[in-house]
């Protein structure tokens, strides 16, 4: 299938409203696609009702839309069943759910393995668990190019390991994690595997069956869908083994004044009214994304990222955080310019209508590893063009002139 970035932009109304904008902060949030926008509008105007409660036609329509969204998410992930899809408010909530429900089954001395590339959302919940349960945290280190250093994996994932929780791809370096040896090491230790897919799902359908992980978390807002919704996928037997995290309506079997029995997954983990319209819109976005020509789209974003890497490499005083080659990495490029703070660079870039993020990107241990406080990060989506990359490069040259 052919792909045209200019045609693809037509599916993103905000970009039409801001024709001069060079939006390169897609790792923070993606723009809302028309399929998601239309789904929200249709749902709220024709079938808005609470789910899992009503017997009237409107409520049945809302139920059907919500459960269809579960099937759409399952299809995007190649999950065995829609019952393996738990809707959450986002990746952070999904990881916190596992940190509580699975974490509370752990004992002092059990180990959780993370990497130094994790977003704070896949680090802080485990530090908090350490405070509650006395588990030990162990870390996969990073090589100089930002990739996970798996050379001593057998020393890090020990028989005491109960969970390995790692990112599918870094939100700073763009490096895609080599999950095969990590999953193998976890399996050998009898540990579960949680994969943080927050950066990955917007770059094409994910195959959780092939990954052989136990849990996979992602957010709607990075996948061109609304914010306030995300997914925790869990292998059926892994979810079934977990106690609930939040208690409330919708997650119960039977409640008496004295005790409660719990619903089966996924509802066991969806206490209270879920983000219904957001989930419906996420399902629509994922359905639309699944039908896109991903091979051509990845070739496009890889070409743009390579153009960016090449253009940056010739700027004086530039250092990269992350791999220089475009194999096994996403079109996310983080860098620093000597003598220019990331925030100052971003502020000058804004005057050029270039939207990029500067700072620690909620990955301070990674920043510590590279001895920097922060970095400028440009993150690309298929709707970006060479003009976006060139505007960034020109803006950086202007920043170097103005701020030195």
């Amino acid at each position: 299938m052919k792909f045209s970035a200019h045609e693809w932009r037509g599916h993103f109304p905000l970009l039409a409203n801001h024709p001069r904008l060079h939006y390169l902060d897609n790792a923070a949030t993606g723009q809302l696609c028309a399929a998601a926008f239309d789904a929200v509008t249709h749902h709220e105007l024709t079938q808005r009702a609470n789910v899992l409660r009503g017997t009237y036609k409107l409520a049945e329509a809302a139920d059907a839309a919500y459960e269809q969204a579960r099937r759409q998410a399952a299809a995007y992930l190649n999950a065995a069943s829609a019952d393996e899809v738990v809707f959450t408010s986002g990746t952070t909530a999904a990881i916190n759910l596992v940190a509580h429900a699975f974490g509370d089954t752990l004992q002092a001395g059990d180990e959780v393995v993370l990497s130094l590339a994790e977003h704070h959302s896949n680090l802080v919940p485990w530090q908090m668990l350490r405070g509650r349960r006395g588990v030990a945290l162990r870390f996969i280190r990073l090589a100089d190019d930002g990739r996970l250093d798996l050379a001593r994996l057998d020393e890090i994932v020990t028989p005491r390991c109960r969970l390995v929780a790692v990112t599918h791809a870094s939100n700073v370096t763009g490096a895609v994690s080599d999950l095969v040896p990590i999953v193998a090491a976890a399996r050998a230790a009898g540990a579960r595997v949680l994969v943080d897919g927050a950066q990955m799902v917007q770059h094409g359908p994910v195959d959780v069956a092939a990954l052989d992980a136990d849990f996979y978390a992602f957010s709607g807002h990075k996948a061109f869908a609304p914010n306030g919704v995300g997914v925790l996928w869990g292998r059926a037997e892994a979810l079934a083994a977990l106690p609930p995290f939040l208690g409330g309506g919708g997650m119960i079997g039977r409640v008496t004044a004295e005790e409660t029995t719990y619903a089966a997954p996924p509802r066991r983990f969806e206490a209270g009214t879920p983000p219904i319209a957001q989930a419906v819109a996420l399902g629509a976005a994922l359905d639309w994304l699944r039908a896109q020509p991903w091979e051509a789209m990845r070739a496009h974003t890889t070409h743009l990222a390579q153009r960016l890497l090449d253009g940056l490499a010739v700027l004086p005083g530039l250092t990269f955080l992350g791999p220089r080659e475009m194999t096994e990495r996403l079109p996310i490029v983080a860098f620093n310019l000597a003598g220019i703070h990331p925030h100052d660079a971003c502020q000058v870039l804004d005057a050029h209508h270039v939207a990029v993020r500067g700072g620690h990107h909620c990955a301070q241990p990674l920043m510590d590893r590279f001895g920097v406080e922060g970095a400028v990060r440009a993150s690309l989506a298929p709707y970006n063009t060479e003009a976006d990359v060139d505007a960034l490069l020109e803006g950086l040259k202007d920043a170097q002139r103005k701020l030195k």
Binding site: H341, P342, H343, D344, Q347, V348, D350, A351, G358, G359, H360, Q364, M367, E373, G374, K402, L403
Partner: protein, 140 residues
């Protein structure tokens, strides 16, 4: 508006780095961290009769943060804890749009930061750290 942010006065103030360094035997040291960007300010103060007799700062931060620290390095001698807290409030008010003439003429160069709310913290971090350092020194 963005380009106004980096007028020559603010660049010169940042580059002056007045007061940069460490004190050999401070009465109080405070460290301020920005949760937004990871910037860090360390400030050492020596007091004489409850007032700043000497001050030095180390800044890992943006131009706005460095300029604010330099203004402090230039003018903070003689302040007591209450005045440092008052100064911090005055800078916050200036960023929020207050018209009152600032205590130090250099502070006027931060007026273009007003519409950029996410950058207010960059200017305020050294003033927060100054207030904390004096409080620590006074509480010894």
């Amino acid at each position: 508006m963005n380009e106004d942010l980096y007028q020559q006065a603010i660049l010169d103030l940042a580059k002056s780095a007045d007061g940069a360094g460490r004190l050999a035997a401070p009465d109080g040291t405070a460290q301020g961290d920005s949760p937004l960007c990871g910037d860090r300010v360390r400030m050492d103060v020596k007091l004489d009769g409850g007032r700043i007799a000497a001050l030095a700062h180390e800044v890992k931060g943006c131009l706005l943060c460095r300029a604010a620290a330099a203004a402090i390095g230039r003018h903070a001698a003689g302040l007591d804890a209450a005045q440092a807290a008052e100064l911090r409030a005055e800078v916050a008010a200036l960023l929020s749009g207050a018209d009152a003439a600032p205590a130090w003429p250099e502070l006027k160069c931060f007026e273009p930061v007003r519409p950029h709310r996410n950058r207010h913290g960059c200017v305020l971090l050294p003033f927060d750290t100054l207030r904390d350092a004096i409080e620590k020194a006074a509480g010894r």
